[in-house]
Symmetry: C2
Subunit: 146 residues, 2 copies
């Protein structure tokens, strides 16, 4: 399956430059790997995927690149329960649904109206910069899904 990894470097290079950082092959490939398969991979999983394109990369670099991307607001780091951090290139406001049977994680879009309602529970004096919503449960085989 052909995959166009052509358009992404623009915004990536831009964002990096904004922070005074360079667009290196390692950073580009790590980012492209996240975009290519949005299944919330761990650093180790990213490492394996990146190695097929850039076999000399080290795990430390993968951690460095992921951290850099998070700093540049290109990627979100997510932590469900104990266990490795997972990475998500979806920047729109969304919740995560963690399927306890399969271990899979799905993005759930958050309408601004709900987000607003949630933020409204904060008493005066609480100044939230971000909010994270995590559901846990199971997904049904969707009787007649589509």
């Amino acid at each position: 399956m052909p995959l166009a990894i052509t358009s992404l470097p623009e915004s990536l290079a831009q964002r990096l430059a904004d922070s005074g950082l360079r667009a290196t092959p390692q950073r580009e490939i790590v980012y492209s790997v996240l975009l290519a398969k949005r299944d919330h991979p761990t650093a180790d999983e990213v490492y394996v995927r990146v190695k097929s394109e850039l076999p000399t990369i080290s795990l430390a670099t993968v951690y460095n690149c992921l951290e850099t991307l998070v700093q540049c607001d290109l990627v979100r780091a997510v932590n469900f329960e104990r266990g490795p951090t997972r990475y998500c290139p979806n920047l729109r406001p969304h919740a995560h649904f963690h399927d306890e049977q399969t271990g899979a994680t799905h993005d759930i879009d958050l309408p601004p109206e709900v987000l607003e309602k949630v933020n409204a529970v904060l008493p005066a004096g609480y100044d939230a910069k971000s909010v994270e919503i995590i559901f846990r449960g199971k997904t049904n085989p969707s009787p007649a899904a589509f």
Copy 2:
């Protein structure tokens, strides 16, 4: 400030018995420590606090007891970002506010109405057993707080 730690064993022993488990001194003290200071301590912090009452307890036992309490639904395990798991004896529906400056974590009550609204974002086929909401930000010195 005097603190009555007398009433808890009832429900604790009950819950444990329900699961076919015994109410040991270790379990009781770990639980009482969580109730006494609800600052979302880590396992290590619980260990230190428990040791002042039961100096021979081991860290492994603290982990075992905490896990047991979570299984019995007496305590919630919470994971903010990477870092150690924190434990919370508040069983009512609530969100967590993580103050990035002080590192402190505050409970925020969740009105059923908001909880409902949040659950409503799930498309058909998603069956959530629980939802966790985590705010990150800072708390203001509450100009005229009380």
